[in-house]
C-alpha cells in the first residue's frame, strides 16, 4: 500500500512539474530582418511552435495553418493586441502583428485549449 501511495504522490509531483514548472523552449524568430515570418501549424490540440520569441520593435507575420477541423481551433486571439482571426481549414492565414514592446503576449483559441506565447525581448 505504501508503494502505491508513493507512486500516486510521485505522479502528482510529475504533473506539477511537467505542466507548470517546466520552462518551455521557444522558437526564436530570425532577428536580423526587420520583418520576419513564421508558420504556426494548428493541429491536434497544440500550436506548433507554441512559444515564439522575437526582438523588440521587429515586425512579425504569423502564418497560421489550421489542420484541425474542430471549431475550437478556428479562432486565434491575441487578447493584449486586440487581434483576432478566423482561421480557414487547411489554408495559410497570415496575421500581421504590430511592432511590439518587450513583454509576453499570449495567443490562444477562444477556450484557451490551444495556447501559445509570444516573448518579445
Amino acid at each position: 500500500m505504501l508503494i502505491i501511495n508513493l507512486i500516486g504522490l510521485g505522479l502528482i509531483v510529475l504533473i506539477v512539474w511537467w505542466f507548470w514548472l517546466y520552462q518551455a523552449q521557444s522558437t526564436q524568430v530570425s532577428d536580423e530582418q526587420d520583418n520576419s515570418e513564421i508558420t504556426v501549424v494548428v493541429e491536434d490540440g497544440i500550436y506548433q511552435p507554441a512559444h515564439i520569441s522575437l526582438l523588440e520593435n521587429k515586425a512579425l507575420q504569423i502564418n497560421f495553418v489550421r489542420k484541425d477541423a474542430s471549431p475550437c481551433a478556428a479562432t486565434v486571439l491575441f487578447p493584449e493586441l486586440e487581434i483576432s482571426a478566423d482561421l480557414p481549414l487547411n489554408k495559410t492565414f497570415a496575421v500581421q502583428l504590430p511592432l511590439l514592446k518587450k513583454g509576453e503576449y499570449a495567443f490562444h483559441c477562444q477556450m484557451k485549449m490551444y495556447s501559445g506565447t509570444l516573448v518579445v525581448k
Partner: protein, 754 residues
C-alpha cells in the same frame, strides 16, 4: 491584392494559391516563371501548402497569368472573399459533423449492446477461460473503436502532453485509456487483481467515446448558428457590379471594381461599392445596416453605401471606396473583431482554464488513493471507477465556451439592430451604466435647426436686412445653429455682404464689421458683456426659449437690432426612447451649449429632469467627470465629432446617427441610425448578453465544482452512490452543448417593441 508588410517602404509581398501542382519538380518551374516577371525580386514556393510567396512591386494579375501560361491555376491568397471563406467554413464544418457522427455510430455500436447487457444483469466479470476469451475479443474490438472513433483524442492528448500542455483531449484519453487498460489487465492477468475487482469496463470506454463524439457534433451545429449575424452581413455584399467601361455597361465581379469606376445601379439592385451619386435620383433602403426602417432619398452628390438596396430610380455613381475599404467591409471587420474579444467577466474563467486539466488529473489520483486506502472492497475497482469518472466528468470546454459564445451572439444581435459594439469590455460596461449623458443637438434633436422667428427691435431695419447681416456673419461661423440662418438666407435668395474683422468669442457669439458698422451677434451673455441695452426684449427672448427655441441677438453699433430664433426639432421618438432608458433605472442627463431656458424647455418636452446647459465644448468632458465623481458609471452619447474627448472619457462612449460612417475612433459603441431607440437597444442587448454570460459561467462552474467531487465518490459514504463513468461521459458531452445552446437563445432576444 498587394499586401505591404509595413509602412516603411519595404518590398511588397504577396501570396498565391497554386492549383494543379502535383510534383516537387513543379516548384522550380513555377518559381522560375515568376522570377522572370519584371519587378519580382523573389518567388518562393511552399510545396506542402501549395502556396508561393512573391516579393516585389508587381500586380498579382501578372503573376497569375504567368503561372497559368505554364499550365497551372493560381489565385491570390488574399483574394478569398469573406463570402468564400464562409462557404468553405460551412463545408468544412459539415464534413467534420458527418465524420463525428460516423465515429459516434461506430462507438455506440459496441457501447450500447454492452451497456444493455450490463444493465440487464449480465456479468461483466472475468472468471472462466471462456469469459476471458470473449472479453479478450471485445477488448480488441474496443481498441479498434478507440482507434477509429477516438483517435483524435489520443493523438491530441499525446501531442499536448509532449508540448507540456493539457486539454480536454488529455482528460478523455486518460479516462477512457485507464478504463481500457485496467479491463485488459483483468482479462490477461485476472490473478493479479482481487477476485471482487475482476470487472471489465469496455462498455464505458466505447460509450464515452461515442457520447463525446455526439456532443462535439451537436456543438459544431450549434456553433454554426452563433455566427448567423455575421453571415447575414456578409450576404449583403453584391457579387457583381455593372460598370461603365469604354462607354459600355458591363457586368464584372465585385472584386474587380476599381476606385473612381462609374457604376450603374437599377431599381431593386444592391449597391455594390461605396460611392457618390453622379446622375439620377432614387430612394435607398439602408435598414439592413442602420436599422432605420424608412428609405432614404438620394440625389446627385449624395453618398451611398455598399450592401444597401436601391428602391425606386436608376442611378449612376462614382466608386469612392471599394473592396476592404467599404463601410460594409469595415462593419463586418469590426463585428468580427468584437465577437472575438473577451469582456473582463471572462477573465476568471480564462485564469482557471490554464490550471484546470492538471488539477483534475491530480484530483483523480487523490481520489483513487483515497479509495485504495480507505475504500471498501473491491477497493481497486472503486478506485479505477472514481479516477476514470473524475477525468471524464470535468469539462474545461463548458467553462471556456461560456463567455465567447454569448459575446458572439450578443454582438451579432446588436449589429442587426444597427449597433456596433467595439469590444467585449464596452459590452460589459454598457450593461452596467447608471447615468447617461445625452448631447442635445443631433442626439435628442434632429440636428438640423431652422429659423422660426425674426423679431425686429429697431424698426429702421427690415427683416430681410436683418437676415442679410446675420447670414453674412454666420456664413463664416462653425456653430451648429449658424447653418440654419445661412440656409434661411439662401432660401430667400439673399446674397451675403462682405464682413471684416470677424472674431468668434467662444461661448458668447461673434463680433465683426460691415463697412464701418460694428456688429455683434450672439447670446444674452454677449450683449451684457458689451453693454447692449435689451429692455423688453429680455422677456420676449425668454418666451421664445420657453418654446424650446434658441434666441440670438443681433446688435448693430451696440444697439439691439433684432432677435433671431432658431429651433431644432426634437426627434420624433426621442421622448419614448428616453422613457425606455429611465425605466431601466438609468439617470438621464442632457448636455448642451445652448442657453439654459431653451435647454430646460427641450428637457421638459422629452422628460429629462437634469440639464447641463451653456456648457462650452471643451467643458463637456468635465461634466462626464463630474458624474463619475458621484460614483456613476457614465455613458455619453453624442455625434462623435464635437464631443470626442467627452466620449473618450465616459465609461462608454456612444456615437449616434453616424449613418454608415463607422470609423469613429472615440466611440465604444456606434449607433448607425439616428434614433435614440438604438441607444436603449444597445443597453438592452448588452444587459441580456451579460445575463447570458453569467448563466453560462454559473452553470459551468457549478457543473464542475459539483460534478468532480460527485464523480470522486463523495456521496458514497453517506448514500452508497458512485457515479458511472458512462453517465459522466454523457454529462460532459452535453455540458458544453448546453452552454452553446444557451448562448444561442440570445438570438431570439428582442429589445422592447418601439
Amino acid at each position: 491584392m498587394n499586401k505591404p508588410k509595413d509602412s516603411t517602404g519595404h518590398k511588397n509581398s504577396q501570396e498565391l494559391i497554386i492549383e494543379g501542382a502535383s510534383c516537387a519538380s513543379c516548384v522550380a518551374k513555377i518559381e522560375t516563371a515568376l522570377k522572370r516577371i519584371d519587378g519580382v525580386d523573389n518567388a518562393q514556393m511552399n510545396f506542402a501548402l501549395r502556396t508561393v510567396v512573391v516579393d516585389g512591386e508587381v500586380d498579382s494579375e501578372d503573376l497569375v497569368q504567368a503561372i497559368e501560361s505554364i499550365g497551372y491555376n493560381a489565385r491570390s491568397a488574399e483574394d478569398t472573399s469573406d463570402d468564400e471563406l464562409l462557404d468553405e467554413k460551412e463545408i468544412a464544418d459539415q464534413k467534420y459533423y458527418t465524420s463525428l457522427m460516423r465515429k459516434m455510430w461506430i462507438a455506440l455500436g459496441l457501447g450500447v449492446p454492452l451497456m444493455i447487457y450490463s444493465i440487464a444483469g449480465g456479468p461483466m466479470t472475468v472468471e472462466t477461460t471462456l469469459e476471458r476469451g470473449i472479453w479478450l475479443f471485445i477488448g480488441i474490438l474496443c481498441a479498434a473503436i478507440m482507434y477509429f472513433a477516438g483517435k483524435h483524442f489520443y493523438v491530441g492528448a499525446w501531442k499536448s502532453f509532449v508540448n507540456h500542455s493539457a486539454n480536454m483531449d488529455t482528460l478523455i484519453a486518460l479516462g477512457t485509456g485507464t478504463a481500457w487498460i485496467y479491463s485488459m489487465v483483468v482479462v490477461f492477468f485476472p490473478m493479479a487483481v482481487p477476485e471482487m475487482a475482476r470487472h471489465v469496463y469496455f462498455e464505458a470506454t466505447a460509450m464515452i467515446i461515442g457520447l463525446i463524439d455526439l456532443g462535439l457534433a451537436l456543438e459544431v451545429k450549434a456553433r454554426g448558428r452563433t455566427s448567423e449575424a455575421i453571415k447575414r452581413l456578409i450576404g449583403l455584399q453584391a457579387k457583381t457590379a455593372r460598370v461603365v467601361r469604354d462607354k459600355k455597361e458591363v457586368d464584372i465581379a465585385i472584386e474587380q471594381v476599381l476606385l473612381n469606376d462609374i457604376v450603374r445601379v437599377r431599381p431593386g439592385e444592391k449597391i455594390p461599392v461605396d460611392g457618390l451619386v453622379i446622375e439620377g435620383h432614387t430612394s435607398i433602403d439602408e435598414s439592413m445596416l442602420t436599422g432605420e426602417p424608412m428609405p432614404v432619398a438620394k440625389e446627385e452628390e449624395d453618398e451611398i453605401v455598399a450592401g444597401t438596396l436601391n428602391k425606386t430610380g436608376s442611378i449612376l455613381f462614382k466608386a469612392t471606396r471599394v473592396g476592404k475599404d467599404t463601410a460594409l467591409a469595415q462593419i463586418i471587420n469590426m463585428v468580427k473583431r468584437a465577437q472575438n474579444s473577451k469582456p473582463p467577466i471572462g477573465r476568471l474563467a480564462d485564469a482557471i482554464s490554464a490550471y484546470f486539466v492538471p488539477v483534475v488529473m491530480i484530483i483523480s489520483i487523490v481520489s483513487a488513493l483515497v479509495w485504495l486506502n480507505f475504500g471498501p472492497d473491491p477497493a481497486l475497482a472503486f478506485a479505477i471507477v472514481s479516477a476514470t469518472t473524475v477525468l471524464i466528468i470535468a469539462c474545461p470546454c463548458a467553462l471556456g465556451l461560456a463567455t465567447p459564445m454569448s459575446v458572439m451572439v450578443g454582438v451579432g444581435k446588436a449589429a442587426e439592430a444597427g449597433v456596433l459594439i467595439r469590444n467585449g469590455e464596452a459590452l460589459q460596461t454598457a450593461s452596467k451604466i447608471t447615468a447617461m449623458i445625452l448631447d442635445k443637438t443631433g442626439t435628442i434633436t434632429e440636428g438640423s435647426p431652422t429659423v422660426t422667428d425674426i423679431l425686429v427691435a429697431d424698426k429702421s431695419y427690415t427683416e430681410k436686412y436683418i437676415l442679410t447681416i446675420a447670414s453674412s456673419i454666420e456664413s463664416r461661423s462653425e456653430h451648429p445653429l449658424a447653418q440654419a440662418i445661412v440656409d434661411s438666407a439662401i432660401a430667400q435668395e439673399i446674397d451675403p455682404e462682405d464682413i471684416s474683422d470677424f472674431q468668434a468669442i467662444a461661448g458668447h457669439g461673434i463680433e465683426a464689421k460691415l463697412e464701418d458698422h460694428h456688429l455683434l451677434f450672439g447670446n444674452q451673455k454677449l450683449m451684457f458683456k458689451k453693454g447692449v441695452f435689451l429692455g423688453e426684449f429680455v422677456s420676449k427672448a425668454q418666451k421664445l426659449a420657453d418654446e424650446a427655441k434658441t434666441p440670438m441677438y443681433l446688435a448693430i453699433d451696440n444697439k439691439l437690432a433684432a432677435i433671431i430664433a432658431v429651433s431644432d426639432p426634437i426627434k420624433e421618438d426621442s421622448i419614448e426612447a428616453i422613457k425606455r432608458l429611465q425605466s431601466s433605472g438609468i439617470r438621464v442627463v442632457m448636455l448642451t451649449g445652448d442657453n439654459r431656458a431653451t435647454a430646460n424647455a427641450v428637457a421638459k418636452k422629452v422628460g429629462i429632469k437634469e440639464v447641463f446647459a451653456e456648457v462650452l465644448p471643451e467643458d463637456k468632458s468635465n461634466k462626464v467627470a463630474e458624474l463619475q465623481a458621484q460614483n456613476e458609471i457614465v455613458g455619453m452619447t453624442g455625434d462623435g465629432i464635437n464631443d470626442a474627448p467627452a466620449l473618450a472619457l465616459a465609461n462608454v462612449g456612444f456615437a449616434i446617427g453616424t449613418g454608415t460612417d463607422v470609423a469613429i475612433e472615440s466611440a465604444d459603441i456606434t449607433l448607425m441610425r439616428g434614433s435614440l431607440h438604438g441607444l436603449a437597444d444597445a443597453i438592452a442587448v448588452s444587459k441580456a448578453t451579460l445575463r447570458n454570460i453569467k448563466q453560462n459561467l454559473f452553470g459551468a462552474f457549478i457543473y464542475n465544482v459539483a460534478g468532480v467531487p460527485f464523480a470522486a465518490g463523495i456521496l458514497y459514504p453517506f448514500f452508497g452512490l458512485l457515479l458511472s463513468p458512462v453517465i459522466a461521459g454523457a454529462a460532459m458531452a452535453f455540458s458544453s452543448l448546453t452552454v452553446v445552446s444557451n448562448a444561442n437563445r440570445l438570438r431570439f432576444f428582442k429589445p422592447k417593441e418601439h
